[in-house]
Amino acid sequence: MSELKLHDNGDIILETRDLTKRYGGIHALEGANFILRKGEHVAIMGDNGAGKSTFVRQITGVEQHTRGEIIFNGKTVRFENPMDARQAGIETVFQTLALADELDVPDNLFLGRELVKFRLGPFSILDYKAMRERTRQALEKTGVKIPNLRNTIRHMSGGQRQCVAIARTATFHSKLTIMDEPTAALGVQETAQVENIVRTLKDQGEPLILVSHNMRQVFDLVDRIVVFRRGRIVANLNKNETDGQDVVAYITGAKTGEEYQDAA
């Protein structure tokens, strides 16, 4: 009951009820009930094809869910496209980097929502100065290190690129950040850099959903672990009450959470 009360208090930033996605006959996601509270960092884990990315795609408006409900910031929402989600305050760092290689850092941060000095439809004049200034603030806030803002993304390391993608969050004061395997393609140092940014977000009380395969990373960074298996949520574990072996058991199907017995 206490959970319900929290909901009424508006402590919950994102909730999905019975969220379901089918591609033709394939049940990619089945009845997902998920809750994220303000300031909370939650990891989503699961094997390949367990429904993690499908789940993320429904929340971020990349795809439309077949059934169920998404409640974001107290309101039921249905995002037509990623821009809708972004405008509502959900910022996503995708597995495939959504950056334009030939553009520089401010251009990428403001892609699709450029600041303009003079409004003239598609020929509105860009306000480069303001965009650079806000980029600088955002990067400093998140602790991202980039030598030269005006270099194109092409000239940056994988870690720097990922940091730029993450820095969008800080630029637009988003209400929720979702990261889909942000360090999958990164080296050790670069991974540490990204993880530091995640910690900064935690300190600032920004809620986060982290999709990751990296057990160490998950236990380092988040408060709670939600395990997906075969399109269903099979466990909802508090980090302090579980361990790696336990999580693996859920991921592989050796174990299923009590409240999710019917899902197995």
């Binding site: 995708f94 334009a100 929502r113 450029e114 400093e140």
Partner: protein, 360 residues
């Protein structure tokens, strides 16, 4: 002494090592090519390509040749301004030459004068009511033709998702068909005085002035407006652009429409300059325009290039053609060398991309 600037997060960088603008390389190439022709000229003919070698007192340049170099590239250059945007977008436009043909024919038929030296116009397309019209009418008709053709290109590419190569190839053949069908293959001639100004005004400098004005306008638009930013973004990573909320399909339609309209402007200038329109006008212009852009550093893989680069590419193009004439070489060699230069420019572009790709 390296100049050290402060970056984000306490990092420093050497500001003098900032990426060298590619336009400077192209400018260097232009200078180099001129020097080669100067050297060959001095060696073989004892003459200079660009400088006065007739011993006149009032001039150091050979103005006549400078004029020809820039004039002969300005009309295709106008097309190249549109083609540059299409290539930066990650597309290609093969239809511009044919759009020039069709637009020239249609616009010219609305620009005819009724009486030629007191006799009825022998090439008249319409009756007297549609002759001696104010010049704005053929201009608007011509612009609409190009705009419409570009719009069709853009719609096909954006909404049926067929490759730009195929869509514009179709338009290339269709528009050429329109150009031939319009007057059943007959040339259309004898425009009004006002229409003739478009290509001959300002003492013959009008095409150059139009070219330069459009180049400045679109250089500004590409660099300083949302339109330009989105064009680069889509060419650089279309998926990222879409995920960032850019209306990719709508933007593509806009870019192709602008390219079509620029081809129409080229058609107006060309038909006015020649005082006639023929169905075969503009053949191969699309390839020359693409070549100018590519030589000017516009990357065929999209996302990179600028109008300044294309203008420099156009000048390189003009210098080479004039240089060959100057050296009294056959026109056949011109085409062979032109082909080689285009391939060379693309190879160079690929090569430039490689070191940065291996860096990450």
């Amino acid at each position: 002494m390296a100049e050290v600037s402060h970056g984000i997060g306490g990092l420093k960088f050497d500001a003098s090592k900032r990426t060298w603008p590619n336009e400077l390389n192209i400018f260097a190439a232009l200078v180099l090519i001129i020097l080669v022709f100067e050297a060959l000229g001095a060696l073989l003919l004892g003459q200079s390509l660009l400088f006065d070698s007739a011993g006149r007192f009032d001039s150091i340049f050979n103005e006549a040749r400078l004029y020809i170099i820039i004039l002969q590239v300005s009309i295709v250059g106008i097309i190249a301004i549109g083609v540059t945007q299409v290539i930066i977008l990650g597309g290609i436009d093969l239809s511009s030459g044919s759009i020039v043909g069709a637009t020239a024919m249609i616009a010219m038929s609305f620009a005819q004068t009724e009486l030629v030296n007191g006799n009825p116009n022998p090439k008249a397309i319409f009756g007297p009511t549609l002759m001696d019209l104010p010049v704005i009418i053929p201009i608007m008709v011509g612009l609409s033709c190009g705009l419409f053709a570009g719009l069709v290109n853009g719609m096909l590419i954006a909404y049926t998702r067929i490759p730009p190569f195929i869509a514009t190839l179709g338009m290339m053949v269709t528009a050429r068909g329109v150009a031939k069908w319009w007057s059943k293959g007959q040339p259309i001639s004898f425009p009004t005085q006002d229409y003739a100004v478009i290509g001959n005004g300002l003492g013959g400098w009008m095409p150059v002035v139009i070219f330069i004005a459009l180049a400045i306008l679109f250089q500004f638009i590409l660099k300083y407006t949302v339109y330009g930013k989105h064009t680069y973004a889509i060419g650089s990573n279309e998926e990222a652009a879409r995920m960032s909320g850019i209306k990719v399909a709508r933007h593509k339609v806009l870019v192709y429409t602008i390219a079509g309209s620029l081809a129409a402007i080229a058609a107006l200038v060309l038909s006015s300059k020649n005082l006639t329109a023929q169905a075969g006008m503009g053949i191969m212009y699309e390839l020359d325009a693409i070549a100018m852009a590519v030589i000017g550093g516009v990357s065929l893989s999209g996302g990179r290039g600028s109008i300044i680069g294309t203008v420099l590419g156009a000048l390189i193009f003009g210098v080479i053609i004039s240089g060959f004439t100057f050296l009294r070489l056959d026109a056949y060699y011109q085409e062979m060398v032109k082909g080689g230069i285009i391939v060379g420019a693309v190879v160079l572009d690929q090569w430039r991309q490689r070191p940065s790709a291996s860096r990450s």
